[in-house]
């Protein structure tokens, strides 16, 4: 509804300043509130005292970090879960970039037959339902004793992170000046040298952004990590949070969970905000989540 009224005011002309501006600001405020309010509620709830957990005041009073200390209690094992997430998401990202960069380069630069088919296949693989990969892989990993191992999470993660990365990198590579590579080859570089000395440094920002997007995708993964691991020490952060048991005797320790949620999310949010322009460019050009 806000959109329509804003659209109307927008096409009404460029001179009518103040009502349009007011409407626009109201609309923006609504969008920002929509996006941030639930997140804000998570932060507020995390900073309440556990005994105030069900308070609905918009500001935590009195302010407390007891929920955060509860997260890091030894028996919760959250430190280990964070480390596991870091290992799984980090390895997935590195593997993905190593493999995906070459493919994206080929797709962006070279002219070859079946290119559309190749692109299509890569996009299509990222759309397969995860469960149809998990069931056979779970069976396989059980048989070869890979359950509760990092590789049992990293390898299935590649199935959706790799297409995402190739797609994003491809979009970034296409933007780069073709002529430079050509000039380098005229100057006697081989194609490999042109790639290493010209393309790689130029592509670094795109690769970095793709790394962030890939890392976030792997970090946020839940279903694979849930299926492949049944030992607490190997759980990733997302699985661990969802399985927190009450430290303060409530049915579900929401305060602790919100605090853990803040810990898992805030670093991502900060990185995303710093790199927002690049990430938005990556997301919209990739068109893939």
């Amino acid at each position: 509804m806000t959109a329509i009224s804003t659209a109307k005011s927008g096409s009404a002309g460029r001179r009518g300043v103040s009502p349009r501006q007011v409407l626009s600001y109201v609309g923006m405020a609504v969008v920002a509130l929509y996006c941030l309010a639930p997140f804000y509620w998570m932060v507020v709830s995390a900073f309440r005292r556990p005994e105030d957990q069900f308070s609905n005041s918009p500001i935590p009073a009195p302010f407390s970090i007891k929920n955060f200390t509860a997260v890091f209690k030894h028996d919760v094992g959250f430190q280990r879960a964070l480390l596991n997430s870091l290992i799984v998401a980090g390895t997935t990202t590195v593997l993905t970039l190593v493999v995906g960069t070459f493919t994206a380069y080929a797709l962006a630069r070279l002219d070859f037959r079946f290119k559309n088919l190749v692109l299509g296949v890569i996009v299509a693989t990222s759309m397969f339902p995860t469960i149809s990969l998990i069931v056979p892989l779970l069976h396989l990993f059980t048989n070869i004793g890979w359950i509760n191992s990092y590789q049992s999470m990293i390898i299935p993660n590649l199935s959706f992170v790799l297409p995402l990365a190739v797609w994003n990198l491809n979009a970034f590579f296409r933007q780069m000046p073709f002529e430079l590579e050509y000039a380098a080859m005229v100057d006697g570089c081989t194609r490999g040298q042109a790639f290493r000395k010209i393309i790689v440094p130029l592509a670094a920002p795109g690769v970095f952004t793709t790394a962030i997007i890939a890392f976030i995708a792997a970090w946020n993964e839940f279903m694979i990590a849930l299926s492949m691991v049944n030992k607490k020490e190997m759980q990733t952060a997302t699985v661990s949070i969802s399985k927190f048991t009450g430290a303060y005797g409530f049915d579900q320790p929401f305060g602790t969970q919100m605090a853990a949620g803040v810990l898992v999310t805030v670093p991502l949010v900060i990185v995303v905000l710093i790199l927002q322009r690049r990430i938005i460019a990556g997301l919209t050009s990739g068109g893939v989540k």
Partner: protein, 335 residues
């Protein structure tokens, strides 16, 4: 958005050079690692699932009275069991839940996403701030957002405090579906908004000027100009959302819980079967979901002409092409 022919003019001389150097072979070398990995982590499981769905675990005694464990070929029994057997109720329930979630959340998300994009597009100042805040729901892990909404939807949580009613959101019932849809919409509508905004920014201002001169109303301008011009971007966004909701798992699993009929999706059902070591039925169910997703994608691409590849190819390929595209867009509208 058929941009197959729109190769940037600068590429023409380079292309000749590439052919001389044997691009095809190089491409094969560069592509092979990705395809190897995808074959292993996607191709193999899909085929293995297909094979596994024809087997059932059998446990019995052989002629000498020893316990025999192994997989027995049962043909299509797993499938017929799912469609008509004892568990068919659970399957059809999950099937309709999945479909219901997909249709409702995609419609809501697209409507909200367009609204957000329009608001941001008309913004005077503070667009950067809103764009930044839009990325927050996207960056939050689904598992964490599910917990967050579970907390919001508690019996004495803030949602009930706001509406002033006592709804037990996370118990069985239609309200559980509503809770899932709200949570899903919150996380993904901003993403649709981002894509739609990217589409809006490709529409040249002159088009709107022309519409204004012709005296078109705001609604008519929106329906006749804005929507058709952002349609390609929207179709891609819808397709991705569609396929994403069809495989929804984390959100209902954490927000409401496992084994809840109101929100059980096909992914959750298959996961449950696999978790109970009934790999055959689980694989059959996963295969059905796979076919469902594939058919949905095919129909969407064929009927509505969602051009994913073309979209990605054309969107980010330099100023010259964008200018060309604008010219074409302007032409389409004025024509």
């Amino acid at each position: 958005m058929t941009t197959t022919t729109a190769v940037p003019s600068a590429a023409a001389p380079v292309k000749k050079k590439q052919d001389v150097q044997g691009s095809g072979r190089l491409a094969a070398v560069l592509l092979s690692p990705t395809f190897l990995v995808l074959a292993l982590v996607v191709g193999y499981p899909i085929i293995a699932a297909l094979r596994e769905s024809l087997y059932q675990k059998s446990q019995g005694l052989d002629a000498n009275g020893f316990v025999v464990k192994g997989d027995k070929f049962v043909g299509l029994k797993n499938y017929t069991d799912i469609f008509t057997g004892v568990k068919s109720d659970a399957f059809w329930n999950a099937f309709w839940n999945t479909t219901f979630f997909t249709v409702t959340s995609v419609i809501i998300e697209v409507a909200l996403g367009i609204a957000m994009a329009l608001i941001m597009h008309r913004a005077f100042r503070g667009r950067a701030f809103v764009r930044a805040s839009i990325l927050v729901p996207w960056a939050i892990p689904t598992a964490v957002s599910a917990l967050l909404w579970r907390w919001v939807f508690q019996a004495d949580g803030v949602a009930n405090a706001i509406i002033g009613q006592q709804v037990l959101w996370t118990t069985e019932g239609f309200h559980a579906k509503v809770a899932v849809i709200i949570a899903d919409t919150w996380k993904t509508a901003p993403f649709v908004g981002l894509l739609a905004l990217a589409g809006l920014q490709l529409i040249p201002a002159e088009v709107y000027e022309a519409a204004k001169v012709d005296g078109a109303s705001a609604w008519r301008t929106f329906v006749k100009i804005t929507l058709p011009l952002i349609k390609p971007v929207l179709l891609v966004a819808i397709l991705f959302r569609l396929l994403d909701v069809l495989r929804m798992f984390d959100l209902p699993f954490i927000l409401i819980g496992a084994h809840k009929d109101s929100v059980n999706t096909l992914s959750m059902l298959a996961y449950d079967e696999a978790n109970n070591l009934r790999y055959g039925p689980a694989a059959a169910m996963a295969t059905i979901l796979f076919v469902y997703v594939a058919v949905a994608a095919y129909v969407f691409v064929k009927l509505l002409g969602a051009d994913i590849i073309g979209e990605a190819r054309s969107r980010k390929s330099g100023a010259s092409k964008r200018a060309k595209k604008r010219a074409r867009a302007a032409q389409e509208v004025t024509a």
